[in-house]
């Protein structure tokens, strides 16, 4: 079913997208009087296989690498490009749907078409098969991003259907110690989830950064732990727990730049002694409790009402 849908989506798009949307408008052109002997340098330098020949801003023809090879093979004397170019050029209008371009490529087997303005016949750009593929991929990508909005819509409808005086959501992320390979995945999944819940982007970013730093602390310093996130109507509470080794001097640990991270961790760009400061910066309230040998609990509270002002800090 899904693959069928995708085919029809692409089919739909080739009618919707115009040639002008995907063409390259930054085109290299040559004048008709340019000598053939100069063509090699241009083709090589720009790594292209065909160039529109332009007289003023009007298209006079197209000269391709095939024309150049033929000229070489015939061992003719140097002459102007105008004499060797294809003059009877098939062109596309910028406002034609992409499907016309697809058909022309299929029908004529050319590598490229010049794109001109329907009214004044000015050269606007050039289109290759690669441009069509890129254009379609880009459009599909944009539609995919819009798909996230549909998620958001669904989630908010789900909430409308819950009958209660207060709704609280709880998410848990398990973090393995010393596992740099999956570092940040908890925070990243949380970020996606909060976005789908429709929370303001500034709030989501603050929660994600605070959680990311806490997650890194679990990975760098502990054998692992749990991150629990409680999303209430006015506040998001992130609770990070581990069972050791604990922080010997909590006050020092909160000082910017203080770190007990080993050298190899610092070389990765972590352990700069800024993690807890960053968390504090993102949070409305942060509480850190730790006992050596037993473990650490970190409470991060972020209000969902005042996001915009705080991020500017």
């Amino acid at each position: 079913m899904i693959s069928d849908n995708r085919i029809s989506k692409v089919q739909e798009l080739v009618y919707e997208i115009r040639v002008g949307d995907v063409m390259q408008s930054d085109v290299i052109t040559v004048a008709p009087e340019t000598p053939m002997s100069q063509l090699r340098g241009i083709l090589k330098k720009e790594r292209i296989s065909g160039i529109p020949v332009v007289n003023g801003d009007r298209l006079a023809g197209i000269i391709s690498i095939e024309d150049f090879i033929k000229w070489l093979a015939d061992r003719e004397e140097d002459c102007s490009i105008a004499e060797k170019m294809s003059k009877n050029v098939h062109t596309l209008y910028a406002d034609e749907p992409l499907t016309h371009a697809v058909n022309m490529f299929q029908l004529l087997g050319f590598g490229r078409f010049a794109v001109i303005d329907r009214q004044d016949k000015r050269l606007l750009g050039i289109i290759t098969k690669g441009d069509i593929v890129r254009g379609l991929l880009k459009k599909l990508e944009i539609d995919h991003v819009e798909g996230e909005d549909i998620y958001r819509h669904k989630v908010s409808r789900f909430f409308d259907n819950i009958l209660a005086d207060q709704v609280v959501l709880l998410f848990q992320y398990d973090v393995a110690g010393h596992d740099f390979k999956h570092a940040g995945e908890g925070a990243s999944r949380l970020k996606t989830t909060l976005r789908r819940l429709g929370l303001a982007p500034q709030i989501v970013r603050r929660v994600a950064i605070a959680t990311y730093e806490a997650e890194m602390n679990l990975i760098i310093y502990t054998d692992g732990g749990k991150i629990r996130v409680r999303v209430g109507p006015d506040e998001i509470l992130v609770i990070v727990r581990d069972s050791g080794p604990g922080i010997a001097d909590v006050e020092k640990a909160l000082q910017p730049g203080y770190s007990t991270a080993p050298e190899w961790v610092r070389e990765l760009g972590f352990g700069a002694g800024m993690g807890l400061c960053n968390i504090k910066k993102c949070a409305n309230k942060m509480d850190l409790m730790s006992s050596v040998g037993k473990g650490t609990q970190l409470y991060i509270r972020i209000s969902t009402n005042d996001g915009a002002e705080r991020e500017a800090v």
Partner: protein, 115 residues
């Protein structure tokens, strides 16, 4: 300035997420400390670093950074590329050291945050 314009003008090589170069670059940040980037970079920044491990992608995606440029000819690890592809964060590389690259970015009008 869009990402692909920077790629063209600075001769950067794109290592992943080539289809996401239409992002607007609103500023720049240069640092190799991940916490520093988390704290001080801005959404839409281009990030200049020499770190090549996959955690740079995590940081970039947390902050919604437009793209990452690796300096000194350093290449991203294969798992970095994989992750960046999934997170749709373009990674570009250059032979230039940080100082040179940032100078050129500045000349193109990509500036840091004025504090």
């Amino acid at each position: 300035m869009k990402l692909f314009e920077l790629v063209q003008k600075l001769g950067l090589k794109v290592r992943c997420a080539e289809t996401h170069l239409q992002h607007e670059v609103s500023g720049g940040y240069a640092s190799d400390l991940l916490s520093d980037v988390l704290a001080n970079s801005q959404t839409g920044d281009i990030w200049v670093t020499l770190q090549v491990h996959q955690n740079i992608v995590g940081v970039a995606s947390m902050k919604d950074i437009a793209g990452i440029i690796l300096v000194n000819g350093r290449e991203p690890n294969s798992d970095t590329i994989e992750k960046a592809e999934a997170e749709k964060i373009p990674i570009m590389v250059t032979e230039m050291p940080t100082f040179e690259l940032v100078g050129k970015l500045y000349n193109l009008g990509v500036t840091g945050t004025k504090k």
